[in-house]
């Protein structure tokens, strides 16, 4: 077992444990903190799988921007204390556990159709030829330029929408 596998299993275990902790904490601030731990572990797995740029992007965008937004809203609404327990009751746990098993089995069955050994490694020669950033940026701005523009428009609309929705009525 080489170092990459050790790091992979450590990150995978940390991701699963901290995400389970996240959905069971009563305090939403703790939930947000454990979600940050999960996102960092997933970012390290991204790096291990050869997506170096996406690992950096995951930390910057998710752990940096989105989680700060979540924490800001939690603090703004003053939800960090005198919270009532909001986890649902015993019957619901059984129902959700069974449903989670069914969905997990479904996902595994669907993912088994992906051929593992049949495909050749397309990623490593591509990235070693162009580098981690240019390997992603070149097709992004060449083949998917229209999609990039539309995504920019989506961000603008989301920004205007967020301001309008959160604005206090005069």
């Amino acid at each position: 077992m080489d170092l990459a596998q050790v790091v992979f299993y450590f990150s995978a275990g940390l991701a699963v444990v901290s995400s389970i902790t996240m959905i069971t904490r009563k305090n939403p601030v703790y939930s947000a903190m454990f979600l940050v731990v999960t996102l960092f572990s997933v970012a390290s797995i991204f790096v291990l799988l050869g997506a170096h740029f996406l690992g950096a992007l995951q930390i910057i965008v998710y752990a940096g921007a989105i989680m700060v937004l979540f924490l800001f809203v939690i603090m703004l609404l003053n939800l960090g204390h005198d919270f009532e327990p909001d986890v649902r009751g015993r019957f619901r746990w059984v129902f959700v556990g069974g449903m989670a098993l069914v969905v997990f089995a479904e996902i595994v069955t669907a993912l088994r159709t992906i051929p593992e050994s049949a495909g050749t490694d397309l990623l490593t020669p591509w990235l070693s030829e162009r580098g981690a950033v240019a390997g992603v940026a070149e097709p992004l701005f060449r083949n998917y330029a229209v999609a990039v523009e539309v995504t920019g428009l989506l961000l603008l609309v989301a920004m205007v929408g967020a301001v309008v929705i959160a604005k206090r009525r005069a």
Binding site: I23, A51, L57, I66, L77, V87, V103, E116, G135
Partner: protein, 97 residues
């Protein structure tokens, strides 16, 4: 590492789904949705080794949409909190039967 990370992404997705179903706090439910989006991103990054770098580009779009969705969703939560002074979904019963 290929199969293991696909299984891990399935596990993270299921945990996020269980969180949405188990919690009543709207913000925690929203964080669980982010976790599910992240699990899908992990699947795409994993299969990008065999389907090419296009899968990673798709992850960039998913991240952008997740950021936009977080901004709008949190604005809706703030707006609802102004009205009900709570983020517990039990109180939001205007459209419930």
């Amino acid at each position: 590492m290929f199969v293991e990370s696909l299984v891990l992404s399935g596990l993270l997705f299921v945990i996020g789904m269980a969180g949405v179903l188990l919690r009543r706090n709207a913000i925690v439910m929203f964080m669980c949705i982010e976790l599910m989006l992240n699990a899908v991103n992990l699947t795409l990054v994993t299969i990008s080794r065999f389907v090419g770098v296009e899968a990673q580009i798709f992850v960039i779009f998913v991240m952008t949409v997740a950021a936009a969705e977080a901004a709008v969703g949190l604005a809706i939560i703030i707006s609802i909190f102004r009205h009900y002074s709570s983020v517990d979904v039990r109180n939001f019963r205007l459209l419930r039967w």
